[in-house]
Symmetry: D2
Subunit: 342 residues, 4 copies
């Protein structure tokens, strides 16, 4: 078995990360890469470090070519654009969409936070691709909505705790910090090294970041009752890495909370509950999620910390994990990396 893979929007950071991961994957070959901006050029002209390893020419989007040449397509296109292209190929090929277009179950919520949804009829068949939670559905899915990076870092620790009633659904506060690659390869003063370097800031405040409805949708589903969170995303002057510090109300002990998570993730290949405090460097370039927590004796609050690489478990790594599940492969195929250290 060799799976033929297409990548839409291959020259951005998530596209580059997919190519890196798929290059070492034992069961796939890339047969199609599109770029709206650079079509006709070899991809190694845009991503120079691919020269010699991967020089395929970038093509225009062509639904019939894709259907002929691909078993699965990863879409790294921006939201809004992504659903238009996916609508032309879904049904014929499997799709993992890295945009937000199929993450929100309710088209009206999507419209409120993003833009009018062009294909609400496709939403029912899309599966939310948080692998450790929705593995069974993903195995039979043809369209997977790959989760956002912040949601991945928040949902992995919280869903098991909410599902089992170990924490309260009220008063959840999420303070997240992300490397700059989360902002993409586009140009802006915010990503200029002279402005973002040697600095730290929050970039959204209040209930305003677009990942909030995605997080609340899944927490609400896990809890069974409406969950509303406080969420503040910050920019770390590093390329890759994401750390979320999460404050929750609970009557349970630290030991009970940890045991709940350890039990839930005992078979998980990429999620681990650790004793010490995780650093983003511990997961860089890998598909791992590390979780730590602490609860004082007298306090009714626990602090939970999770780290992922925003481009790997937070994007392209989880996308490959979804592909593995969709084709019945070993879930960790092509993903069993040790971080590049130091």
């Amino acid at each position: 078995l060799t799976i033929s893979i297409g990548i839409l929007g291959a020259t951005g950071y998530t596209g580059a990360e997919l190519i890196r991961l798929l290059h070492s994957h034992p069961e796939v070959r890339i047969t199609y890469c599109s770029s709206r901006q650079y079509n006709g050029k070899p991809i190694s002209e845009i991503l120079e470090f691919l020269k010699g390893s991967y020089d395929r020419e970038l093509e225009e989007f062509d639904a019939s070519a894709i259907k002929k040449r691909c078993d699965l397509v990863f879409s790294c296109l921006p939201h809004g654009v992504s659903m238009e292209f996916i609508a032309q190929i879904t049904g014929s090929v499997k799709v993992v969409d890295l945009s937000a277009d199929f993450r929100i179950r309710d088209a009206s919520v999507y419209s409120e936070w993003y833009q009018k949804h062009a294909h609400p009829e496709m939403l029912p068949k899309a599966v939310y691709g948080l692998c450790e939670i929705y593995g069974d559905e993903i195995r039979h899915a043809t369209l997977v909505a790959n989760p956002g990076c912040y949601p991945t870092s928040v949902l992995l620790p919280l869903i098991p705790l909410l599902k089992s009633g170990m924490i309260e659904q009220d008063g959840i506060i999420v303070d997240s910090k992300s490397g700059v690659s989360g902002a993409g390869r586009g140009l802006s003063l915010n990503t200029h090294i002279c402005e973002a370097g040697e600095s730290f800031s929050a970039y959204k405040i209040g209930h305003s970041h677009r990942h909030i409805p995605e997080i609340e949708q899944e927490l609400t589903k896990a809890s069974g009752a409406p969950v509303s969170i406080e969420f503040t995303p910050h920019l770390i002057p590093i390329t890759r890495g994401m750390l979320s510090t999460i404050y929750v109300s609970t009557a349970r002990s630290e030991g009970e909370l940890k045991e709940c998570l350890q039990e839930f993730y005992k078979e998980a290949r990429f999620v681990r509950i650790i004793k010490g405090l995780p650093a983003t460097k511990d997961v860089r370039g890998t598909n791992r999620c590390l979780i730590a927590m602490s609860k004082g004796v007298h306090s009714g609050r626990a602090t939970i910390i999770s780290v992922i690489d925003n481009l790997t478990k937070g994007a392209s790594g989880q996308a490959v994990q979804n592909m593995n599940l969709m084709f019945g492969l070993d879930e960790a195929a092509g993903l069993d990396y040790i971080p590049v250290f130091p």
Copy 2:
């Protein structure tokens, strides 16, 4: 008027920052610098960028020499050591102590978090040097306990809000991020550029960081009722800068909260409530504190963000501000800088 200044422990980061600030101060000259480790060497041998500007020889601690040659002494010594030395000179010269030794009013609390207090009898005369709050006491003080960096970033926004009853004293959550210089010039794997660089982590979790009792003492005083906080400090891979994201419960509107702070700080030289979101780069090398906030309409919680330079307003800059107050100088003398940008 020219004030003669001594610096104890002059070769660490707060000592170096004091020398930088005092170098451009119109009313002072440095007449004494001590170092336990390097005495006998010119300070510019240890801090090479001082060569040509400041080559004074480092001396051993000598109480009688200090009394003869100094009007005011800054102590940059570690806690525990600092109080022993200060005990020998206080009364004869004014002292600003940058260690934690005189910040905690209650010697038993100090003992619980640090070590047994060797000079509890001196605590009553020490004034907590948060300039914008205790300005009147500082003007008449002979011993000032310069606040910690985290406490400065947390107390400046919270004290006015608690004093005026605008926020609740329960449920305060402080998520703080600091540049690595806060860890000092000592050597450890945690400050090795290959381990701390390109990474981000929390380094304490739960109710365990030593700045907690200092913060709670002052919040309790402002509130009139016991305040207990959640506090998580993180390490940013930058040299200077501190940002605290603070979550509070309140029934008031965003406008009311902002107005409260704006009114409180309308005469303040270094504290400013801003519309946008502050970055640590906006205050680097300056004595400024920038505060932003947001509150959703339906939420009972507000998010407050404050930034300072941990070595300036969080340490040596505030120490100079305290000195200015203690000698009746313009509060901003030697501190009116624009940040080095970019």
Copy 3:
């Protein structure tokens, strides 16, 4: 005496650095700031850290307003544009031009490396503003061509050695490294933190960088015979700082070379020959140039290292130093800083 200052193109990095330095200068006030892109807005809206310190409205270029309101104008405009604007005001106000437009004495050389020179008739009255070399001419100049950053770092060590015949004019190799702020505030993938961060590269190779004719012009003048150099500029993933490693042929000893430089710069306020090896951090935010050198006993080659801050001694600091000379002020007025360390 208070000098009225105008800044053309005030919102880029050299403009921001000028405002920082002039803010603490005892003899000046800024009375005019122009921006082609942002006119009509307060400058503190573009450079947010100026809020409260400096909120002047950005104006369109207006020659007659400038003549009325300014004693001296700094032009931070790009080459080509700068000379057009300067031509309208020179004669009435003194000008320090930070662009390359008046650095090259020979209009045909300028045309070869930049573009056709629009005002060759102004070249004879322009003085090359390398303060330590051309101080006497600068004192009487009305139009000063502020040197490029690379030329400043190369010429300060080499001109005295060539003038005195201590080194050969052949075989000079210059390997320079610059912080990213040298590339300006414009947007490009080369300055995206995810591409420039955690990386190092040369960005020109061979005899191709535009600072080469400027360096060769001045070395030829110092030597009395044509000098042609090898020059390779590299990008350091830091904001500020420039280091040039220069390899020269010489029959003289290390001691003779050092003595030559020490004698030449014995009265210089900002240039210092040091024993150890300088780091860019030692000069960050200051107008200093540090020079080190070494020569093996058996080798006919010496290695010289110089460091400056590319935005200060390499641009805006030297521009202020030029202004000081043009107005008969203390050469170091507003420039006597200790670096922000760490």
Copy 4:
């Protein structure tokens, strides 16, 4: 075939990099790891990111255990120590030594630059492990001296050019820049993020760095006549990456020089001559070496730039490549990575 591997000194940066690379190597398993400092502890306690992937207990050095359990040993011990341990196992197991102990053919030269050589009798059987040059000897070697990082970056471009007489052996100047991991995991102010971060400096000047005799030995061998170089190593504030800018005298054209290298490396798996200018980021975490060059028409000098990852091709990657050759495996086994980008 599965090769059993031992690693001496496994907890430093080259040890960690070996474990990362061997983890994905199809033909090996690690059966022994020693540490002088941490023996008895699981290696994942010292290198926490290994937890779950690699938890083997660190052992004391034990020659007889090694002989029983290992087919090949990598020594990541410091020079001086390394040869003592290797002397006890060589003959029974194959050894790749990452220290300098067996790189210098002449024991008296070693003694001059390092310390007295304890095992000069072993030097004749050691092969210098620059794989692209000494592949044939390495295939039959039992003791390989893995080259230094600087030598690797310098020798790969220069040896073919010297061998073919395309460049002169006189006047070679090497200006090298290295990431901080080259300084190892030991603690020093030079690697403190607050001192090394946001800065750039040379750290040796003149003919003083210990990699010089290694470079000169190999260049002399390639040239057939004594070669003496100028060499200046600099510190880049990044973790990984090395770039050498090399200036050589030559009468040949740029085309001839490039053709010479392209021909020499046409079968090489990891060395590539490129058109553009390479960045260290293009090779991070990989075993690649990228080479660029330029020569002006009128100049008798060419500029050559090479980049490697100092920990991979400059250390552990090349060590694995040597192992592959020593066991007749595919030279690129376990080394075919695309860089982690961005």
